[in-house]
Structures are given as C-alpha cells and as structure tokens.
C-alpha cells in the first residue's frame, strides 16, 4: 500500500510539474471559467431570477466544463513520444498510475475552483462568510467524483482520433448524478437554508465518490492493458 501511495504521489508530482511548466491547461480552464462567468452575468436578468437561484447552475456548469479541459490533458502528456509505454513497462501498478493521475487532476480542478469561486462571489455578490466551509466541502466532494470518472475516460479516449469529442461524450452522463447533488446542495446553501439540510446531499456525494473511485480504480487497468 505504501508503494502504491508513493508511486501515485510520484506520478501526480510529475503531472503537476509538467502543468506548472506549460500552464496551458490551467490557463485555458481559468480563462474559460472567467469568460463563462462574465457571459452568464451579462445574460442574467436580476429582476427575473435571483443570484441565489442562478449561481449554483453557473458554478457547476463552469466546474464541469473547465475540469474537462484538464482531464483531456491528463493522458495527452503520456501520448507524446509514447511516454505511456515507459510508464506501463515500469513496475508501477496500474492502480497507482490511476490514483496518481486522479490526484493531479484533483489538484488541477481545485486550483480552478480557487479562482472561480471568488469570481462567482464577486459577480453575483453572494454572501460567502457563513457558507464558505460547507461550499468548500461540496466543491471538494464533487471534484473527487468528477475527477475519478474523468480520469478513467481520459485514458480510454486519448488513443482515439476524436479524443476531444469522445471524453465529454463518455464522461458527461456519469457526471450528471454528481453535478445534480452538488448543484442542489449549493442551491440550498445559497438560499440561506441551514447546513443540516444539505447533509443528505453531502452523504450522497460521499457515496458517489466511494463508488466512482473504487469502480474507476478497478476498471482503469482494462483501459491501458492490452
């Protein structure tokens, strides 16, 4: 187990180092998030819909699609000059490779969220002081599920000619239950309901995370093995 965790961390650190050097996916995701926020903001009629009603949908649309940009790159870096062969020919277990990739993707999505959530609060003038903790919990729990599913499908799609189209087509149906739970919990939170009312949604997110992380870790070797 220690070996798996060490190898996972090694792979995550390598992916993050590559992203830190190139910053291509991160900048794309952040620019997309900010542009989408601005577009939603200017299309918004505050006399018809309150900020609290609109913001959860905006937030989760942005997280879902900006996350896909990073997920696509996750295995894209392995295809260049067949780096994946070096990874698969090494003694690293396939599970460690998956967990390492997923960890790097989780940090990527969290970094995008770190920019997008304050921007959303600014755009929609949302009261963040009392709900920051639960909102972060929802964001982290949803990100774990999204990243687990997205990492698996990124590995499946990367070798195809239509990888950029295939990844969202494969992943989005599996994102629906996570995004629904996260958006519902966020909506309750932003409408001023007590935190205890979102606990059922949080439990559901935890359940989705457990199922998706375990299922995707088990399924991953079949996507990269011959």
């Amino acid at each position: 187990m220690a070996d798996v965790l060490y190898t996972s961390w090694l792979i995550a650190r390598k992916d993050l180092a590559i992203e830190f050097r190139t910053r291509s996916a991160f900048f794309s995701a952040v620019v997309f998030a900010l542009l989408a926020l601005a577009i939603f903001y200017y299309a918004w009629d505050p006399t018809a819909v309150t900020a609290g009603d609109l913001a959860p949908g905006v937030l989760w649309v942005i997280f879902t699609f900006s996350g896909l940009l990073g997920l696509h790159r996750s295995f894209g870096v392995e295809i260049s000059d067949h780096a994946i062969d070096g990874l698969l020919a090494s003694p690293a277990s396939r599970e460690a490779i998956f967990l390492g990739k997923a960890l790097a993707n989780l940090i990527f999505v969290a970094a995008v969220q770190l920019v997008a959530i304050p921007a959303l609060v600014l755009f929609y003038n949302l009261p963040l002081t009392n709900i920051a903790g639960p909102l972060i919990a929802i964001a982290v729990l949803a990100a774990i599920g999204l990243v687990a599913v997205g990492t698996l499908f990124s590995a499946m799609a990367v070798n195809t000619r239509l990888a950029e189209l295939l990844l969202p087509m494969l992943a989005l149906p599996f994102f629906v239950p996570i995004v629904t739970a996260a958006a519902q919990a966020t909506a309750k939170l932003l409408s001023g309901r007590p935190v205890v009312e979102i606990s059922a949604w949080l439990k559901l997110l935890v359940a989705f995370d457990l199922v998706f992380v375990v299922a995707c870790t088990v399924a991953f070797p079949f996507t990269v093995e011959d």
């Binding site: 590559i18 067949h82 003694p91």
Partner: protein, 232 residues
C-alpha cells in the same frame, strides 16, 4: 531468459508466430528482419506492453508479462524516446528511478546521465534537445534501474556517431556484467558488433538463427538477403 512458442495475434493477423529462444546472462541476440516482420511486437510482448496470445517467456524464472517483479528486471529502449518534453533529462531519469522503486536515486541518476554524456544538458527541458540527445536521455532512463534484460528496439535511431559509440560501449559493458540483451535493428553492422547470436525474422517467425562464432560478419548481409529470399 526463455521464450517458448510465443505467439501474438492482432485479430486474424499473426504478428509473432511461435517464436522460441533462450538467452543466458551476458548474451545478446540481434534480431534482423524487414518492416512488419514482428520484431517490435515481439519486444513489446517481452516488455509486458502486449500480452501473448499463447506461449510464454521467463526472465530469471519469472513469467513475462507479469507483475512488478518481472517488469523490474527489464529495461526498454525504443526509437520512441518515452520522455516528457516539459521536464529536464534529470527529472525524467529521476522519475523513472522512482517508478522502479529506487529511493534516494541521486547518484544513480547522475551516473546514468554521465554514461550517456548528458550531464551538461541535464537541466535543460527535453524539448530543447536534439533528437539524438533525447535518445541518449531515453537510454539513460532505461538503464537507471540496472535491468537484467535490456530490450532495445532500434536504439541507434537518431544517434550521431559519438552517441552510437557511447551506446555500443554501454551495451557491451552491460553484457559483460551479465545483462541479457535483445536488440532489434536494421543496421547489420551495429547489431552484429554486439551480438552473441543473430536471428532473422520474417512473417512473425525466426527463419534463421546463427551463433556469433559461426557468423562471417563480412558476408552476413548476403546471408541475410538469402534467408529473406528463401523464407528460411
């Protein structure tokens, strides 16, 4: 290393058709053959990147492709560098060392890069290096864990004369230290310079195998062409 009746199919096409051979520590098999003969597929099966359709291969008694124990014993060099372009040679080799479970690998990394004369450019991004330099780093990466079996698929690809000399010296050194080597190349001279045995592969089969002391290096090109023409 023992390979017994190894077969690999891609759908109806048989890329490797019942190949058998054995290599003792310190032996080097040079594998020649035309494009599409199945040489690369054979190496990919031995490296654990493809599963055999039937037959088996063992290194030090451990079945390939197997788990971590088997893969730890194998070093893979390819004409694809398998490097991350945004990282430096040092980072690439250190990453590989980590994957092979070498903790505190600083000295091993330095030594691998030194052997391939890449210490001076060890911190430059790989993408800024020439193709030949990238190949040197790729070789350093494959050697960092001191494998018992080296699988080299066109390892001279992109190397200049000096790089080719360094690689030959390194492979000879490894062979002398007991490492078994399988080298796939179209260059008969380079292949034979290292080989203790040579095989010609066509349509997935070994159609001719010669021990090095029975090879007339000067006329092997003729022997090779005749073997291909006769199909064995």
């Amino acid at each position: 290393m023992e390979v017994s009746d190894l077969t690999r199919n891609f759908g109806p096409r048989r890329a490797v058709a019942g190949v058998s051979f054995a290599l003792l520590p310190g032996e080097c098999l040079a594998l020649f053959g035309p494009n599409g003969a199945g040489k690369t597929t054979l190496l990919r099966v031995l490296a654990g990147l493809l599963k055999p359709t039937s037959g088996n291969a063992r290194v030090s008694g451990i079945e390939l492709p197997g788990g971590a124990a088997a893969r730890t014993r194998v070093g893979l060099i390819s004409h694809h560098t398998m490097l991350y372009e945004a990282l430096s040679p040092r980072e690439n080799v250190a990453f590989a060392a980590g994957l092979y479970g070498i903790r505190d690998a600083r000295d091993r990394v330095e030594d691998s890069l030194r052997r391939m004369a890449m210490l001076e450019r060890a911190d430059a991004p790989v993408r800024s290096l020439s193709r030949g330099m990238q190949q040197r780093v790729s070789i350093a990466r494959a050697m960092v864990h001191s494998p018992q079996l080296v699988l080299a698929d066109e390892p001279y690809s992109g190397l200049d004369e000096s790089g080719a000399r360094s690689l030959t010296a390194l492979l000879e050194e490894l062979r002398a230290a007991g490492t078994a080597i399988v080298i796939v190349t179209h260059n008969l001279v380079e292949g034979l310079s290292l080989a203790t045995r040579a095989a010609v592969m066509k349509a997935g089969k070994f159609i001719r195998t010669d021990a090095a002391d029975h090879i007339d290096r000067g006329s092997y090109a003729v022997t090779y062409r005749e073997a291909l023409a006769s199909g064995g």
